[in-house]
Symmetry: C2
Subunit: 379 residues, 2 copies
């Protein structure tokens, strides 16, 4: 009878209002009804992205949207400055490699951000078609200083393509104000939807690049999406039920207000970080993002046993580390349909299982620290 | 208070059991729970496709899956024999063009099938990497003789890539028995799901081609899907809620039994064709498919006014013609969650609106003919 508490950094919990909206009878997409729904979603997506540029919706994962951004703006063999500090940034490098791009990688260790200064330096030495990066690197729970980086990139001919998959709707990202040319996100993160939709905003600078590119892929052909979007239409059959859910989810987010959403997400993340410290645990990232917290396992706690106990005993679902971080860290999402009591709950569950599995600490210290932090920040 | 009756050839009606399944709380996909769900779906998809080959599930539309099939098996610049008799077949030619393939088109007029003899002749004159075709061309409501065509193709080195988007689950398609190398379908047709998932089965002959191909796209990289599938896993975040719905929808279809489903679909289509004839209307296709019927508008009936009246008065949704067929035909789906009484209902609605809009015929003749046909076929 324990309520399911999903703290994985995507999929995240979907509000009941959204689930029930998607359970309504399906309807056809080549209709005025669909175009009206879709136009409304696009308008709200623009508010979410803080942009007046078109925001494209496609049926697919975040990987599809990021690849769409890259292949439609960077010529095959083009020059890419790739900021790389985790598994997802590495995926964007893979796409560049598959397209035979000339790649300059600016690497930071897992858990670290790339310094804007390094980016400026690299940009001063060569001319690039595009700069690729994760704003929030989900695998290492690390945020980059996007505003500062964008300020450098916008002075050059390169376009800035940003993976905002776990930043848009969770932390402040001002696409237009900061100069993010393409901002990508997915449905199953801060947008509180099931996976299956992905989104990208496209600046004028990026659209000019699109016009110069010939690339073979049809499903991810950005000109097709942009042309249809002008008529509130879609080139291929859209995921109608998910778009219907999107309409409700975005209404919920925007009626709460972005500043409030960001403030809450920050409070849950701070509370979790404070709890970790109070329990003698270490946050993995030196530049922790508010959307998801990565915590280093203390010695003697086995990843699989730990997460299994959380799941079996409390129906609390957290994520393992990815790749080389597997077994070393666990990750807790703060995105979307989460509140202060969910946050307290997950910390209570962590404490209980940590104690049962032999880790020694002052029982209750995490909950107390989180409780204090939540009260301080949210009143 | 009129129940919505969706007769568009995708999306089609989704059963309430499926809608409610998808409204259950979301869960994470990198779990044993998801792999078990997905393994079960894959097993059922193989039954649906009548194949023992792997069936890949991806998040996207049917276009994504067909493009995935083509780009991973046909080298850029490769030789393609493209059967083309409607808007969807033309889309597959577009993909071949974008990939600089050498294309030999075997065209049939809209509403006609390409003769297997023509295919045999073309195959005897040249060697192809692949043959592309629609089994059921949704835009013209036309079925091709896939079994006979496949028998010719399998004798050659070419692989046969079949758009079964409105045939799989509606009419008999025996992937292995007939020798269809890649069979593609989408979720929003006979599978009774919302759009957002697409599927492709891949024969050994096709998998051997896959091994020889280097293509840039990552999201649609078939080797990634095939490798993950071997572990009941997925390379990118799957559309979890839709996969959950898939599990229920496939269980419903298979527990009813494919022969029964095909027989019913055939009966609804026959009833609709008989009704059309009884009303003095003409079926558009000379090789009509059972999944969707296209009927030529009688003189004086205006597409938009006709469909609007059906929708407003009866909440009955049918589809217009596509491209050059717009205004000339209307289309009624018989796929998925439709029964005999829905079929009678749509014919009754058609009669009422046709009479109101000035078409002259014996009122009731369509309903009577359909009623007779349904009784004859289904007892």
């Amino acid at each position: 009878m324990n309520r399911m508490r999903l703290f994985t950094p995507g999929p995240t919990s979907v509000p009941e209002e959204v689930l029930l909206e998607m359970a309504k009878p399906i309807f056809h997409h080549r209709t005025a009804e669909y175009r009206e729904l879709f136009a409304n979603c696009t308008k709200m997506l623009q508010q979410l992205f803080q942009t007046s540029n078109p925001v494209v919706t496609l049926a697919g994962s975040g990987t599809a949207a990021y690849e769409c951004a890259m292949i439609n703006t960077i010529p095959s063999g083009g020059k890419v400055l790739a900021l790389s500090n985790g598994k997802f940034a590495e995926r964007w490098v893979t796409i560049a490699k598959r397209n035979k791009c000339q790649i300059t990688e600016l690497k930071a260790d897992y858990g670290q951000a790339v310094s804007p200064h390094q980016v400026a330096e690299a940009l001063s030495k060569d001319t690039y078609d595009a700069v690729t990066m994760c704003h929030s690197e989900t695998s290492t729970c690390t945020v980059q200083d996007l505003k500062a980086i964008a300020a450098h990139v916008r002075k050059t001919p390169a376009i800035l393509i940003v993976d905002g998959i776990t930043s848009v709707g969770a932390i402040d990202v001002q696409a237009d104000e900061w100069g993010v040319d393409i901002l990508v996100t997915g449905s199953q993160k801060a947008l509180m939807l099931p996976p299956g939709l992905a989104f990208l905003s496209v600046s004028e600078k990026a659209r000019k690049k699109v016009e110069t590119i010939t690339q073979p892929n049809l499903y991810l052909s950005l000109p097709h999406y942009l042309k249809s979007l002008a008529d509130n239409d879609v080139p291929w059959t859209p995921a109608v039920s998910l778009v219907r859910g999107l309409n409700v989810a975005l209404s919920m987010i925007l009626s709460r207000g972005l500043p409030h959403v960001f403030k809450s997400t920050h409070a849950y993340a701070s509370a979790t970080r404070s709890a970790a410290t109070a329990l003698g645990l270490k946050v993995f990232s030196s530049s922790p993002v508010d959307s998801v917290t990565g915590i280093i396992y203390p010695e003697g706690i086995i990843d699989k046993e730990f997460r299994t106990a959380l799941r079996k005993k409390f129906n609390v679902h957290i994520a393992a580390g990815q790749g080389s971080m597997e077994g070393k860290i666990f990750r807790i999402s703060h995105m979307g349909y989460v509140d202060a009591y969910d946050t307290l709950g997950v910390i209570s569950a962590l404490e209980t299982v940590l104690r049962q599995q032999g880790y020694r600490f002052t029982f209750g210290a995490g909950v107390a620290a989180a409780h204090q932090e939540l009260a301080d920040q949210l009143g």
